[in-house]
Symmetry: C2
Subunit: 230 residues, 2 copies
DNA sequence: CCAAAAGTGTTTTATGTACACCCATGA
DNA sequence: TCATGGGTGTACATAAAACACTTTTGG
């Protein structure tokens, strides 16, 4: 049998909401292959390092964020023999949903890093266009069946903040009144903190933190079940 | 940096329905580690072989089945440093939903292979208990949102056959009348062939083949949305 | 004729949607 | 007091659950 060892990396699809847009963190490559092209952040898995740990380490290196503050999950693994011209490199992609980082967001080390709206990424290096597309679809789906939308928010947030997350990720408008009822009624989704804020004008909004639920019952469906047949 | 090359394998969670039970294909290991323990089938990814191709090849080797007849999808990747005592072995797990194979099902090569009900597998080798559990959960979820339940059936099947799939995988009872309406009403799920069969007694049942849909709208939910809160 | 399984129709109940309406604040 | 956004109540449409009932076969 031929040698079947491969180089192993993790690549990260880091998503956040900045300036009313869904954005992804990209790194400008300084060396070939794909020099000067944008790519997803990532790096090699170390010896004796678990895959999840490698992804968490990369997340911390790239953003400075404590992995606990966001959500990090394995997305899929990409291992086509031609995906890296240097040789056989298999990458385990991870998806992260992160709050808008107020601090020194990108460029912790030398490489150039930047948040870019997901629709304006150009052509990425390697097969990263495909990985990003898979990550976006996963993120949109996660918002339907899980309470992970709160991971895009600050620790305390209003129902309107949460609705903005849904509207941004799904690229739709949602009825504020029905949305309010749904999320406050879904068991364990969000919990009131007792505080209020006034964002612009208008009546003060209640503040919430994320609740203990891991799944949404019932789900918030992107497309109303009856509408496709009409 | 230390050497970060790893050995890469694919492992398969092959599911089928035999004798009214959800069963998984297992291989009895003939060599250490975990000698004489049951394990998921799998093997090394070859040089210049895509991951999906490696999984399809293993599926064909283990079952003799044309991968086109079933459904094969990537499940997740497991790469904890201690998962294989021989060294760093990362495995990409795949999930397959297969029809009941009438032919020489297991044991295409020397190793002992057998279908076993998913609840009676004992303790599997490596981290295969975890992989199997993840595969089962994925399969149960797939039946809600996709028409993949038909992959457990023969090319032509009755609505009752399809209902048995759901009841077996979900371990529930479903109302035959409402189930009939749902699946015949879901767009692109199943298509009548024109033929009929009499299985035991009773009125002949229409025969169907699987339709072109890739997703179910609306989904068939395991748990009625309102029931958990009551 | 009876039992059994397939399939249809109807009632009841729950859920989603649309929207009128009130509340609490800044200007 | 007006504009603005937060939040509640309610009528209507739609879909699911429960189940009575008809159809079509074998024995």
């Amino acid at each position: 049998m031929t040698l079947n060892v491969v180089a192993l990396t993790v690549d990260l699809v880091l998503l956040t909401i900045r300036r009313e847009a869904l954005q992804v963190l990209l790194i400008r490559r300084g060396i070939p292959p794909y020099q000067d092209r944008w790519a997803l952040p990532g790096g090699f898995v170390l010896d004796d390092e678990d895959l999840d740990a490698a992804a968490a380490r990369e997340l911390r290196e790239e953003t400075g964020l404590d992995p606990e503050r966001g959500h990090l999950e394995q997305l899929a693994t990409y291992g086509g023999p031609g995906r890296d011209p240097r040789g056989r490199v298999v990458t385990v992609a991870y998806l992260a949903l992160l709050p808008d980082l107020p601090a020194p967001v990108p460029g912790s080390d030398a490489a150039v890093a930047a948040w870019r709206p997901v629709g304006e990424t150009g052509e990425l290096a390697f097969d990263h266009d495909r990985i990003l597309a898979d990550g976006l679809e996963r993120a949109r789906s996660r918002l339907e069946y899980t309470p992970l939308a709160t991971r895009f928010c600050a620790p305390e947030f209003t129902v309107a903040d949460l609705r903005t997350v849904y509207e941004t990720v799904w690229r739709t408008r949602l009825d504020p009144r029905n949305f309010h009822r749904k999320v406050t009624g879904a068991d364990g989704f969000i919990e009131p903190t007792g505080g209020t804020v006034i964002r612009d004008r208008g009546r003060p909004a209640q503040l919430y933190r994320r609740g203990p639920a891991t799944h949404l019952h019932p789900p918030l469906l992107r497309q109303s079940p009856g509408s496709p047949s009409r």
